[in-house]
Subunit: 468 residues, 2 copies
């Protein structure tokens, strides 16, 4: 009954696909955010569902933690094995199993990344729209209930996962959902697993909804006199019912990051990056309607990207935000906030965030999937500077409190992981957390699936267990 | 520890809002489908969340079953108290608590019906789109994961419930979700409760997503030479990406029902009922594109309904399908099937259903939310005629098997209730059912919330427990 005995039992099954080299342990114990290194005891590379099932059965018997690993691009330390055990690297389970073009769905393995999937789909005229900045694994995206720039039109992973194959804590394999577009057949285990961050089961197969390439697409950037004008333009646009495909806020600091990191020369002002999709006439109509609203809020300098390569370049720049952020103060890490509020509260939320970051002397960018009411402050932080860490943590906590006060959530898309566990007790009542704990205990009684994540311990001092 | 002792304990709290009159018991123990009368021991009319909480606490202590009751329009006997106990009639908790027009959401109590809500919203320019045929309570709609004609555009209750207040089995009150459009803050308890049919908690408050009234709307009926032509027109339309607001199949028998019940004179042929929404130019473009596809499949006799009153009449007719069905063979009841398949399989599914119903000499209509791959056979049945019941049950079972073979589900929107419990073990593996049972046991350890529904008993003979 130990991690060591579990690894001994796993060795004959996985041979050299069970690794304990220092480099591999470190690769799987590090993260893109500010969390401390947390090493697994071994990294295992399964190739089949049966192997994941065998591994879970053995680890459950031995009480050995198992943490799934996709691409390691999580921003809240989800994949860090803080209690040791196995880092289950899903990168070899990365096949497209079935493309059902007529039904606009696809069956894939979870180690596949979103960009890899879209390359595979290229010949079909279909694509998978959900796009967090990173080229994340689709398993990781499901596990964190990820979204990105297109959620305003297509929803999040919650809306785009039709079915799952999941290995439970004791090795049993279940299927949830189906290829039908809707069902009322029992509890929605698909939606329970999506966003459960590897704490309720290991996803080994996913059926995803696809979208057809639109007849016409047009994208643009435009700048605004102030961030408040930009946000008010977004609010009016959404309330007008213009079916935006994308509507992204980029503040002047983020523009500076793009200019530095990607050798751009955009004016260092607040911008909106927008995209319209539909028929040629529909796109023209939407663009004109949006243009009129933007003008009302002082929008200017419209730069249109109609050719695919220009649009790709525009969104490549936007998706590079995390890395462009690093260019602003090289050597530091990023602590990214992720609040999401009702759209009517967005101007207050964004302007408060900008004002408080300045008052607290925090270098941060503000970018957001503002059509959903979701935005991020990418705060530059030196993990070794305790005072700075405390100041930024205070700022992040203030934003979380504000989001809850405004009727929103502490995390729109990044998930809880380690970093936001301290807010769980603010967003959810003790009884709601206990309901989540009861479900966790029912499905993982030995607490081996990504232990130490999402749910703070069930007592008033629970917050102290959070990462920082 | 009995139902009687629970009722004794509840009496002082509810006074004459706890009723045991024969008429009320019967009203709450009957149903619109073919299931036998199942009487509660008492009907209770709560007025506040606190009262529901008090009631659950007491019933949990006494082991007394509690079954929520909305409008009683369920088609699978969800609300029948098959183990007696309390029928919790939510009709007095029917207020609109908060209209957030700027955020396009509304907070309501679960006893409110969808039509009542839309009357309340009239002045705002907003509406709630989900529309099962019946004027159901919104609590019941959430509990069964209902949908209807507009799901092809706006999704089901799963997609339109943002947040819930739920009373758990032991009386604790939790809130799930928020008014933010998305969140990654822990397990998705909202989606777990939606579709749980009152077996995991009692919904006492709902926050719902609203839609803006579109600038332009146009609806039409057109007829086809055969049901196969109509379905193939649907498949092509969906695959072409035309953003249909509604696309409904109505077979010749259903048209006969409309003609009889509503004094119409539609040609008795397979029809599609369609609706387009958007800008004026967009609607014109969509209509033209659909018209061209329909023509390819022999569609003719287009009748356009552009005025609101004409459209309302069209959809009132469609929503009257259940009652029009009764007009075909008065005195009988309806057993409605509800399979949903991937769209590419729809022609096979519908034509097989029509052929088999004729081979088995079953009088049935076929209607469907075919843009989702979902259709219903409304089979006329005399519950006293054992041979007829057996024949129709066999037919329904064949359709369920077919749906699963084609990658679909045994219920697209009606839910499991009593009637489809026997298919749960076909759609879900024993391990998946056990996962659902574990969740049920974790949240309702005394099995007092709508016992005897959704989950068949955990042994191979479990199907025998189903209603028939």
């Amino acid at each position: 009954m130990s991690i060591a005995s579990a690894i001994d039992a796993l060795r004959p099954l996985f041979g050299n696909r069970l690794a304990t080299s220092e480099a591999l342990l470190e690769q799987h114990g590090t993260n893109e955010s500010h969390f401390a290194l947390a090493l697994p005891d071994a990294v295992v590379f399964p190739e089949t569902t049966q192997e994941v099932s065998d591994l879970m059965r053995i680890c459950n018997q031995h009480g050995c933690p198992v943490v799934a690993f996709g691409t390691g691009t999580s921003l809240e330390g989800h994949h860090l094995p803080v209690q040791g055990g196995i880092s289950l690297d899903m990168s070899r389970m990365n096949r497209v199993l079935q493309i059902n073009a007529e039904d606009m769905d696809v069956v894939i393995q979870p180690g596949l990344t979103r960009e890899e999937l879209n390359v595979e789909l290229r010949a079909t005229g279909l694509y998978f729209p959900v796009d967090p900045g990173a080229n994340a694994s689709l398993g990781g995206m499901a596990a964190t209930r990820a979204s990105g720039t297109t959620a305003v039109k297509f929803g999040t992973m919650k809306d785009n996962v039709l079915a799952l194959e999941v290995v439970l804590a004791d090795g049993r394999v279940i299927r949830t959902g189906s290829r039908a577009r809707k069902s009322s057949a029992g509890y929605d285990l698909t939606r329970l697993m999506v966003g459960s961050e590897g704490t309720l089961g290991i996803i080994t197969e996913q059926t995803l909804r696809l979208q057809g390439q639109p007849e016409a697409v047009s994208a643009a950037t435009c700048r605004f006199p102030s961030i408040e004008d930009a946000v008010n333009c977004v609010i009016t646009t959404i309330q007008s019912g213009i079916p935006m495909a994308r509507i992204e806020l980029v503040d002047e600091m983020m523009v500076r990051g793009f200019n530095l990191y990607m050798k751009k020369d955009l004016p260092e002002a607040p911008h909106l990056f927008v995209e319209f999709q539909g028929s040629a006439a529909g796109v023209a109509e939407q663009s004109a309607n949006f243009g009129a609203i933007a003008e009302d809020f002082g929008g200017s300098g419209f730069t249109w990207a109609e050719k695919p390569e220009d649009r790709n370049e525009l969104w490549r720049m936007r998706h590079g935000g995390h890395y462009a952020n690093n260019a602003l103060q090289p050597g530091k890490k990023t602590l990214a906030t992720d609040v999401c509020v009702p759209i009517s509260q967005l101007a207050e939320a964004v302007t408060t965030a900008q004002r408080r970051s300045r008052e607290l002397d925090i270098t941060c960018t503000i970018v957001g999937h503002v059509g959903d009411g979701n935005f991020h402050c990418g705060c530059r932080v030196d993990p070794a500077n305790a005072e700075e860490v405390a100041r930024i943590t205070r700022f992040a906590g203030e934003l979380a409190d504000m989001a809850l006060r405004l009727g929103g959530t502490v995390t729109g898309e990044h998930g809880i992981g380690l970093g936001k566990m301290k807010y769980m007790g603010k967003e959810h009542s003790p009884d709601a957390l206990d309901a989540m704990r009861a479900i966790k205990a029912a499905l993982d009684p030995n607490n081996i699936l990504n232990p130490g994540k999402i749910l703070p311990p069930p007592h008033p001092d629970g917050d102290a267990n959070a990462a920082q």
